[in-house]
Symmetry: C2
C-alpha cells in the first residue's frame, strides 16, 4: 500500500495537495480492496468533470452551437481519453486493488483507471471546493482543449460509427425511418440505427432525416463505447 | 417582450437577481425567437445541474451506493421533473418564442420549459459563479431531495419501464440474453431489451443476468423519456 509520501508525485501532477489524505486514499481504492472505496467519489467526480469541461468549451468556443460543444465534450470525457490521462499520471501504480483484480491485471484495466481519475476529481471537491477541481481538470485537459481546431470539423457520428465498426471488422449499420411526429412546421423524423452484429438498435430524432440519423448513430456510439 | 422589471418575480423565486440582465433574457429566449438564444446556456446549465444534484445526494445519503445515487439523480434531473419545476416558476409567461412556436403552444411544451430552466442555471453561473448556481438549484430542489425516503427503495428500472409502457397501452418489453464476456470471475452478461411497439432495442451489461436486464431497462427508459 502506497504511503502518503509515496503519493507526492501524483499530487504534484494533479496540481493539488490534499489536506485530507484519507480522501486521496479513498479515491485510489477499488471496491475489490475494501471500504471506503472510490465508487461514490467517482459518481460526484463524473458530474464535476462533465460540467467543468462544458464550461471550458463554452468559453473557448464562443460561436459553436450546442450540438458541437456536446460532441466535443463527449470526446473529452469518454473512457478512452480518461484512460490516456490516467496513464500519463501513472495512476495504475497508486491504485489499491483486491487480490483477484491484482492478478487479472486490474492496474491496467481502462475502466478501473478512468473511474479512479474521476474519483480523484470528486475527492478534490470534498477536500477543497469547486475551484480546486477546476484547477485539476484544467491542468489535465487544457492541452487537449487547446489542441481542438474548431475550423476542422469533427467527424460526424455516422462517420465515427462506421469507422468504429470497420476497425472491428463488423458489417455497417442500416438506418430505417420509423416515423414522424408533430405538425408540418415542427415535424420530427424518427430513425432507427440497426447494428445486427452488435445486437443493438438505437433511435434518433431530428428536424431532418439526416439529423435523426446522426442522433441515432451518436446513441449507438455511446452504447458501444461504454 | 417582458422588460427587466417584469422579471423581478422570477428572480425572487430563483433566489438570484442577475447583475447582467442580458444573460437572464438570453436564458429565456428560445431559438425560434432569434439570437442570442438559450441553447448554449442550456448546455452548461445541464452539466451544472447534474453535478450539483450529485453533490447534494452524496451529502444527504452518506451510505447509499453509487448505483442508487445515480438512479435518484436521473429521477431528479429528467425532463418531467424540470417541467414541473418550470410550471411552479410560471416560466412559460417569461419565455421569448418565435411566432410559429407561439401559435403551436410552445409556452407549454415540456421540453422548451425544461431547457429554459437549465439555461437559467447556466446564466446564473456566468452571472455570479458556481456557488450562486448551488443556491438556485438548492432553492428549487431542496424540497424534492428532502422528500426522498432512502428506506423506501425506488422502483427498479424494469418496473418503471413496465409502468411507462402500460400507461401508454403498449405491449411489454422482452429481454433476450445476447452473450457473455470476460473470464469466469469477471464475467459480464449482455442482455437486450426489445420494445417492438417503440421500435427500440437497448442493451445492458452486468455481473448477473438480472443486473444486465435492469441496465437495459434503464437505457430504454432514458431513450423513451427523452
Amino acid at each position: 500500500m502506497a504511503g502518503s509520501l509515496g503519493l507526492a508525485p501524483l499530487q504534484r501532477s494533479l496540481g493539488h495537495t490534499f489536506t485530507d489524505q484519507g480522501l486521496l486514499q479513498a479515491a485510489l481504492t477499488h471496491r475489490s480492496y475494501g471500504t471506503p472505496h472510490n465508487e461514490r467519489l467517482e459518481f460526484i467526480g463524473d458530474g464535476l468533470l462533465n460540467s467543468i469541461v462544458a464550461l471550458q468549451l463554452y468559453q473557448r468556443f464562443p460561436h459553436l452551437p450546442e450540438g458541437d460543444l456536446s460532441r466535443l465534450r463527449a470526446n473529452l470525457v469518454r473512457q478512452d481519453t480518461l484512460h490516456q490521462l490516467a496513464l500519463k499520471l501513472d495512476l495504475g501504480r497508486y491504485l489499491l486493488l483486491g487480490e483477484g483484480e491484482l492478478k487479472s491485471g486490474g492496474h491496467q484495466r481502462p475502466s478501473i483507471l478512468a473511474d479512479a481519475l474521476e474519483a480523484l476529481f470528486g475527492a478534490t471537491y470534498l477536500d477543497a471546493g469547486f475551484e480546486a477541481v477546476v484547477g485539476v481538470v484544467t491542468t489535465l485537459f487544457a492541452p487537449l482543449i487547446a489542441a481542438i481546431d474548431p475550423a476542422k470539423p469533427m467527424k460526424d457520428p455516422k462517420t465515427r460509427l462506421q469507422e468504429w465498426l470497420q476497425a472491428r471488422r463488423k458489417p455497417l449499420p442500416t438506418y430505417v425511418m420509423s416515423g414522424t411526429e408533430g405538425d408540418a412546421h415542427v415535424q420530427e423524423f424518427i430513425v432507427a440505427c440497426e447494428i445486427q452484429a452488435c445486437n443493438l438498435t438505437t433511435q434518433g430524432r431530428g428536424t431532418s432525416r439526416r439529423a435523426a440519423e446522426q442522433q441515432a448513430a451518436e446513441a449507438a456510439l455511446r452504447a458501444l463505447e461504454k
